[in-house]
């Protein structure tokens, strides 16, 4: 028998999500159309979600005290075939998922006509919030239909008034894309894309310098546990920011918002994306004490099992692009951060020893610092990077 989804309604014009407060019925119970099923709380009021049809409540998939976006499926009702057909209800799994596999199939061209369906699956996102210029309602509707954002139009030259992308331009663009191989981007890829898009609205600049790793490698021979170069850089960044946190401040309007705690994130490559676990108050623990929590977070991130409190809220990020054999890179800070510290691959380099008056081989790696140029200038970024290098030359003190 058909399963009818129960969805989170939009309970007010500005409401994007609601918290599940309690369940008024239990799975297995018979329910009537319009019956109250779930009590939810928005930031404005407590209300109920009603049943879309008569039938038997199969499951309730949402967790209590958890917030779900408008359009989220909160459970299912098993309805008779007659009831589902009579009400013209769409059956779970929603047939719409097919659209994502063929994002370039225009639904309006001779395809089957869409039925009147709940119109609140996912909120419409105003195009200009993502950096595009004016889009007509018709074009917006077409893009929503295909799940596209304004930034996806960056490759389209508009032929309309004032360079506006018209729906004809758009259709030509889509038709062109259809000739190429198309595959789905993972949700991880989509969320990285969104973060980078938002970050790129700022002027990002980069500075870099080499740092000698010999003291660290010497220290690793005698130390238990053995901290790696990336963790060493993370700890040095934390110490430097504890001395002066201003470079990690965020510019909001005409104010600099200073960090309240030295929580430092670090990038871990996971399947088709990057996760950023966070070491809280990295300035308050010694380098050696950070090794165990660091290793644990790396393992959890690779398995994509990071607990909620282990991500978010960090004030700067360390990324070890050296693991890919790279010596230089220009990383982009997370949208809510001003700084990202990069670490290149270590290699042997000749170093002029003025006492011996000859070149000696040392292990060296490049440190890079990418920063929001609105907050920092090259001088302040350079001084911060120098201080980090200085700290890394004495790992036993870290």
């Amino acid at each position: 028998m058909p399963l009818i989804p129960i969805i989170m309604p939009q309970l007010g014009e500005s409401i994007a999500e609601a918290n599940i407060v309690s369940y008024l019925v239990q799975p297995g119970q018979e329910v009537a159309a319009d019956q109250n099923l779930i009590e939810v709380e928005t930031n404005k009021a407590t209300m109920t979600v009603t049943s879309p049809c008569t039938g038997r409540l199969m499951d309730l998939t949402g967790r209590l005290q958890q917030s779900y976006p408008v359009g989220a499926v909160l459970g299912h009702i098993e309805a008779s075939l007659q009831e589902a057909a009579r009400l013209g209800l769409d059956v779970a799994p929603v047939a719409k998922s097919g659209d994502a596999e063929h994002p370039a199939t225009p639904a309006g061209n001779g395809g089957s006509h869409a039925r009147v369906q709940p119109t609140v699956r996912g909120l419409p996102v105003p195009a200009n919030a993502r950096g595009a210029s004016y889009l007509s309602p018709r074009l917006k509707a077409r893009m929503t239909e295909l799940g596209l954002h304004a930034a996806d139009l960056s490759g389209v030259a508009g032929s309309g008034a004032a360079g506006r992308v018209t729906v004809e331009d758009f259709e030509k663009f889509i038709a062109l894309l259809e000739k190429q191989k198309i595959s789905d981007a993972s949700s991880m890829r989509v969320s990285v894309a969104d973060a980078m898009r938002r970050s790129w609205t700022r002027p990002i600049a980069h500075v870099g310098m080499p740092v000698c790793l010999d003291p660290l490698f010497a220290y690793r021979k005698v130390s238990r546990p053995k901290p790696g170069p990336a963790l060493c850089a993370l700890r040095a960044l934390a110490v430097a920011l504890a001395e002066n946190s201003a470079p990690a401040g965020r510019l909001v309007g005409s104010k600099i918002v200073h960090p309240s705690a030295i929580d430092i994130g670090f990038a871990v490559e996971a399947e088709d994306g990057v996760l950023v676990p966070v070491i809280r108050q990295a300035d308050k623990k010694s380098l050696n004490d950070l090794v165990a929590p660091y290793n644990e977070l790396v393992a959890l991130a690779r398995e994509r099992k990071l607990p909620v409190n282990a991500t978010g809220g960090s004030i700067a990020t360390v990324t070890n692009f050296g693991t890919f054999g790279l010596e230089w890179a220009t990383p982009i800070p997370l949208p809510e951060q001003t700084l990202v510290l990069g670490m290149g691959a270590a290699r042997h380099e000749p170093h002029w020893d003025s006492v011996k008056a000859q070149f000696v081989p040392i292990m060296e790696a490049n440190l890079t610092l990418s920063f929001d140029h609105r907050v920092l200038d090259g001088g302040a970024a350079g001084r911060l990077l120098q201080r980090i290098g200085e700290l890394m030359r004495e790992p036993e003190k870290l």
Binding site: Q10, L11, G12, D34, L87, A114, R115, R142, A161
Partner: protein
């Protein structure tokens, strides 16, 4: 409860028929509103849902007092008045659920529906503004030598605080337009109580200031509302100039279904203003034996079935297709034809 004059008229079978018809529209409007509220909370309606709970007696009295070819500019709580003026349940449901077959073709939602060519106007949210729209139509009819029709505009207490209300009322008075302005003084403009809106004793005073004839009525009393509105419409139709009716009542719901209305004073709810007009009308009809319990029950069943079947039908209907849609204005698309210079979004419908 009802004045003696009315008691006498109540013997009149025609009046009895009108009352029963009005009561059925009230019941239909109430249950339709309840259905919209449930569909909204099941995520089936996009945009706001606004109910007329507690205002049906006044609303139905406007719709039922008007005739075909009259003009009606309803407000968001006028489900009963719209039905009585001739709107079908199907049109109301189609607009709320975004069906392409509805009068707005799925382009405009919920309360913003109407058929201007048939005299029912889609509303501008800022209700004071609707009065001059009705004035304009009435004035046009006068210029066209069409006489004997009336235009009713329905507003709330909040609209009387807007400049548009004052300008339009003055204009109607000066031009002696056949306007019937109905003010549902439901104690709150969204959440703003009347004490924060006006300092005059009664909103009726505002009409007097412009030389407009005005009546006060108990908005919870169907019999009184029908009598007052019926007489006001009759006076306007026969050259009596603009008429204003101020009905005091209480909105028995939130401003919209997203509003839990916690701000409503409990004292008001327990006062005579908080009386449910539908229940009061039902009790009166049963007491007078104009309606018996079994007729009432079958009337209710009939109404529930009509709403249920209409909702089921509309859910099977097509959604609008922006590519097949002709994006010219719905009621005056003919004015755009042949407009070759028209660029941008007003392109002709694509042939599918």
């Amino acid at each position: 409860m009802s004045p003696p004059v009315l008691e006498a008229r109540a013997e009149n079978a025609a009046f009895r028929k009108t009352i029963l018809a009005a009561f059925r529209f009230m019941l239909l409007a109430r249950l339709l509103d309840d259905k919209f509220a449930a569909l909204y909370r099941a995520g089936k309606i996009h945009g706001g849902v606004f109910l007329g709970r507690g205002q049906e007696a006044l609303s139905v009295s406007i719709g039922i007092s008007l005739k075909k070819n009259d003009i009606f500019a309803p407000l968001i709580r006028d489900a009963a008045g719209r039905l009585a003026f001739g709107e079908t349940v199907l049109d109301a449901v189609r607009t709320h659920m975004g069906s392409a077959l509805g009068p707005m073709r799925g382009r405009d939602g919920n309360v913003h529906r109407g058929k201007p060519l048939e005299g029912s106007l889609p509303m501008i949210s800022h209700l004071g503004a609707m009065i001059s729209v009705v004035n304009g139509m009435l004035f046009a009819r006068r210029l066209q030598n069409r006489h004997g029709t009336v235009g009713a505009a329905s507003i709330g207490d909040g609209a009387t605080s807007t400049g548009a209300f004052h300008e339009a009322l003055n204009q109607a008075a000066v031009e002696k337009l056949p306007l019937v302005l109905v003010v549902a003084d439901n104690q709150y403009a969204y959440s703003t109580p009347t004490s924060k809106q006006f300092a005059c004793e009664s909103l009726a005073d505002r009409a007097i200031g412009y030389g407009v004839e005005v009546q006060n009525v108990d908005g919870t009393d169907l019999f009184a509302c029908l009598k007052t509105l019926g007489e006001a419409v009759l006076r306007a139709r026969h050259g009596g100039g603009p008429q204003m009716v101020v009905a005091r009542l209480l909105r028995l719901c939130g401003h919209g279904e997203h509003d839990t209305a916690d701000y409503v004073d409990p004292k008001l709810k327990n006062s005579p203003l908080g009386r449910d007009c539908l229940k009061a009308a039902e009790e009166t009809l049963l007491r007078r034996e104009w309606l018996d319990a079994s007729t009432l029950a079958s009337m209710r069943r009939e109404v529930v079935r009509e709403i249920d079947e209409t909702v089921a039908q509309v859910q099977r209907e097509p959604a609008p297709d922006p590519f097949a849609e002709n994006w010219t204005a719905i009621s005056c698309g003919h004015l755009a034809e042949g407009d070759e210079g028209n660029q941008g979004d007003n392109m002709p419908a694509r042939k599918s």
